[in-house]
């Protein structure tokens, strides 16, 4: 069974630009949608608050593993049993963790970014997140609504 997710995305931006968007905590927060308390430092815990609409009650907590400039950025983070507002617990010390790795490679057009997340086999079978999935779908709809609204009213 699957233990790992891997994504590859071609970015039309120099490797230095992509590295900054990943390694600078303010820039990371912009696109990831998290308000981080301070810079990423290897071996240290990064804390913050999710700013993704509907999930503002969720805390960000990740242990930064590696920061090799323009090559590799990695951290481990917890998977809470529930992200539902009613059942979410901010204490993630008991939650199973996965490892997230961002690898960068220079290409003719810019940068190839390979993101992987591994360690799902440690997650318990009783993970129940249907509510989150439903919310997420509703959310995707919302984004489409906003997009079409913005497109119509520039």
């Amino acid at each position: 069974m699957q233990d790992r997710i891997e994504k590859r995305i071609e970015l039309k931006a120099p490797i230095s630009r992509v590295w900054r968007a990943l390694s600078d905590y303010r820039e990371f927060g912009e696109w990831f949608r998290v308000r981080l308390e301070g810079p990423f430092l290897p071996g240290q815990v990064s804390r913050g608050q999710i700013t993704y609409p509907g999930y503002e009650h969720v805390k960000w907590e990740a242990l930064v593993e590696k920061m090799e400039p323009e090559k590799l950025f990695s951290f481990s983070w917890a998977h809470p049993k529930s992200l539902d507002k009613e059942s979410y617990s901010p204490d993630s010390s008991e939650d199973p963790r996965t490892l997230v790795e961002f690898r960068l490679e220079k290409t003719a057009a810019g940068t190839l970014l390979i993101v992987s997340e591994s360690g799902f086999s440690k997650l318990p079978a009783e993970l129940r997140l249907e509510a989150f999935r439903r919310n997420d779908q509703g959310w995707t709809e919302q984004v489409k609504n906003i997009e079409s609204y913005v497109a119509k009213t520039p």
Binding site: M1, E30, V115, A125
Partner: protein, 97 residues
């Protein structure tokens, strides 16, 4: 759960239980060389992770597959995967602007 399935005997048991009905240990044992105790031990492992449910009928325990956890884990991976797609699209827009 992954560890629970990482055993040929248990995987074979899940395969038998996949018929969707309830099975007794004797039924699950037929055609295999395993002892009653061995089958019971494997079933308990599967029960512990929530893949199998047992019901008591008289003096006998009957076992049934609970497919829910497998579906959920796959759904969860799909969900995480979708979230990465969305986040990376935001990153793309962010660095290419």
């Amino acid at each position: 759960m992954f560890a629970a399935l990482g055993d040929e005997t248990r995987l074979a048991l899940v395969g038998r239980l996949a018929g969707g009905e309830t099975y007794s240990i004797s039924q699950l044992r037929s055609g295999s060389r395993l002892t009653r105790q061995a089958i019971t031990k494997h079933l308990r492992v599967l029960e512990k992770v929530g893949l199998v449910r047992s019901v008591h009928r008289g003096r006998e325990s009957l076992f049934q597959l609970d497919p829910e956890p497998i579906v959920e884990m796959r759904e969860y991976l799909d969900l995480v995967s979708e979230q990465w797609d969305e986040a990376l699209n935001r990153l793309k827009a962010f660095v290419e602007k």
